[in-house]
Assembly symmetry: C2
Homo-oligomer: 434 residues x 2
């Protein structure tokens, strides 16, 4: 096989064979396919697409590029969860202990935040002492004992994805549904769960800006999972505004704890309940969706899920005292507010700009490897639909010595629209793929 | 400017600005744009295209990447000629001395043959002693004294094209009309002629397989030339069969000499007359097309053009005795024929396969830098339209000790179709862009 012929086939809109795709993934890793050939093929894939069969072959080749986690010696129904990511997306930290408290086992491996805001690992690391680098055996022991554990992906998992993602990141070839789907699903398959619930975010603060792209991504990922023998479903949820009120690592941990105490914001609570119910059904713990929702709600309101999170924190080296004492979490030394410049109703609170504002304050990374500040971030005081008078705080900026404050405030003003009427209500869950 | 944003713009189908394109060409040369980013952009250009304005900017940026030849101290009307290349395409070697004998100055810089068969330089080098590496000053002196000179492109001419072409060649991004047009026209503009006639080949043995692509390439190149202030026209000519009867370097030199003696094959003669007439009109030597054709024909049939070629050969270090004594040219030690396997009419003689057959015998290169054998090649005994009896020679293979003979014979059999009726006649010139 001459690799240039593979590139030409995709350039001309033809399908690739399994051998073509295996040669690509293998060649990228061992250097037989140089970066300049790989990036030409990636661009051809972005513009010509791949069908479900090609995407499955790509996913499988990527899985085979590294180790697979063997969870066969962890008893119970393992159900993974993955989100395509958004601003204020703290769902995993609430959902993993919640589903575990209902009887499923939630082995969660996460990536670092690549976009505006910190990722799940960054948020957890805001808890003093919390370790996301447990060895696989320790990870499995926490799963056996607690039912939930959240760690970083190990280096040996899907090395082809790391290499390809780094190349896509610098060649404008990230934006491709088959490439995104193969990247996500290769990692999820390598993580070894038997079932998986996907949260595909859609809107201004998400990778997929419109409902039809989000749905196609969801369908593609579900199709890949099915072909690989996984029980898998996707829920498409709205990411036009930040999820919940808090954006920033320690601030989001507090919001997670509040949610597990029954005092969370309604949008976050709704997403957690819907995903949690599907995890229980996929894990075989409940067969009826309504019963599953009741069971998830009971675990949250009874405090059982909060206790599970406290145990998970403790077993991962963190201070479980944060659950009751938020002063043990890092806090920013200063606060500022952006005030309403006119009376009216908050019509929009665009997640993208809020996310960038939070990042500018220090809560996210401009590039991989940058340090983040766990304390800083943004709390929404007047969410979409709130009526405000002139001068009323719209968002509260938690900053450190003014770092990024002016730029963040400007971004928040750009993000917020104040109008004269109540905006139409929006459902947080906008689709499902089963 | 972040280069990834430039890639993303073209990926999304938007136009690039002059700054974007300058940054690309400059960055590719100085290393600021790594190969993997350049190849991603090239693939996006292949699939999204570029308009005439973008293509002109690309061409100009490439011209500025190196030196321009200054022909202002060469008196007379300089008219360049370029062919997009085909099998048996020896037109330049006939046409340059022919147009010079009619009073225009033909400064011709050629590339090496990249495809199946040798290029113009390889053909000329079949003449013992012929040098294609004259310094620019010597080139200009031959132009002043003889009116025609054919040398290789100097290394300082359009270095950006050399770098980009090498990358396109290994990333399946050669096939793009704007990229091909910019590559050709940047070199022609850098060569410094005031006028240019383009021969755009179309058909099985050419880069452009169909008339509409060939026409678009011709229009694009003419548009670029016009924007740069060049007097330029294109003629689209057929390349379904090899041009003339000979394919192979020394064999083609003999055919060139025969043509300048009035005994050339009709298709080659027709192309030479048409292009020659246009060169005279563009150079201002004749204003009337019919008069220009008569003048070209007279220069050929009177032997004046042959004498001009002999002087050009001599001034470029070659043995002018070859003009009258073909035994001074290298000859292959052995010959074989492919015979007609049935009686009938030659319906097709596909140039692509004949070209590959000639290459397999040693007349072309598999990769840049390969040595070629000037003596070997193919002579068509029964051209398209010929009636043949069973066993009659169709093509004659000039080989060296059987090298590549079986494969070449098989390719020739594949190339030739014998049918029952006379094939419909075909015009050799199929279009013009003025």
């Amino acid at each position: 096989m001459r690799f240039i012929d593979v590139i030409a086939r995709k350039r001309d809109g033809h399908g690739l064979s399994r051998d073509d795709i295996d040669g690509f993934v293998h060649g990228v890793l061992n250097g037989a396919v140089p970066d300049y050939q790989a990036s030409a093929l990636l661009m051809a894939i972005v513009l010509r697409g791949m069908d479900d069969q090609e995407t499955s072959w790509l996913t499988e080749a990527m899985v085979r590029s590294g180790d697979r986690v063997d969870l066969s010696d962890v008893a119970g129904a393992t159900v993974g969860k993955h989100s395509t990511g958004g601003v204020g997306d703290k769902v995993s930290i609430v959902l993993a202990p919640l589903a575990a408290a209902c009887g499923v086992v939630v082995p969660k491996m996460s990536g670092r935040g690549l976009g505006h805001t910190g990722g799940t690992l960054d948020k957890l690391e805001a808890i003093p002492g919390f370790r996301v680098d447990l060895p696989v055996e320790a990870f499995k022991q926490v799963l056996r004992d607690v039912g939930a554990c959240i760690i970083g992906q190990t280096a040996s998992l899907v090395p082809a994805d790391k290499k390809l993602y780094a190349l896509r990141d610098v060649t404008a070839t990230v934006e491709s549904i088959p490439l995104i789907a193969a990247s996500v699903m290769s990692k999820k398959l390598a993580e070894g769960s038997r079932a998986l619930v996907l949260d595909v975010k859609c809107g201004d603060g998400a990778f997929m800006k419109d409902a039809s792209s989000a749905r196609r991504l969801a369908e593609t990922m579900v199709a890949i999972g099915r072909r690989a023998g996984l029980r898998v479903e996707a829920v498409v949820t709205r990411m036009d505004e930040p999820l919940g009120r808090a954006v920033g690592n320690a601030l989001e941990i507090i919001e997670c704890l509040e949610t597990l105490k029954g005092a969370g914001p309604p949008d976050l609570t709704a997403v957690v309940e819907r995903l949690g119910a599907r995890m229980l059904v996929l894990g075989g713990v409940e067969s009826d969706a309504a019963a599953a929702v009741r069971r998830v709600r009971d675990a949250r309101l009874s405090g059982r899920a909060l206790a599970t999170l406290a145990r998970m924190i403790e077993r991962q080296g963190g201070d479980p005292g944060v659950v009751d004492d938020y002063t043990r979490l890092p806090a920013a030394p200063s606060r500022a507010v952006v005030e309403a410049w006119r009376p009216g109703c908050v019509m929009e609170l665009r997640a993208g700009a809020i996310g960038r504002a939070s990042s500018v304050l220090g809560a996210g990374r401009a590039r991989a490897g940058d340090a983040i500040d766990p304390a800083v971030g943004i709390v929404v005081a007047a969410p979409r639909g709130a009526e405000v008078v002139r001068g009323q705080p719209l968002v509260e900026l938690h900053h450190r010595d003014g770092r990024g404050l002016d730029a963040a405030a400007a971004l928040c003003r750009e993000a917020i629209e104040i109008g004269d009427e109540l905006p139409p209500p929006r459902e947080i869950v906008i689709g499902e793929v089963r």
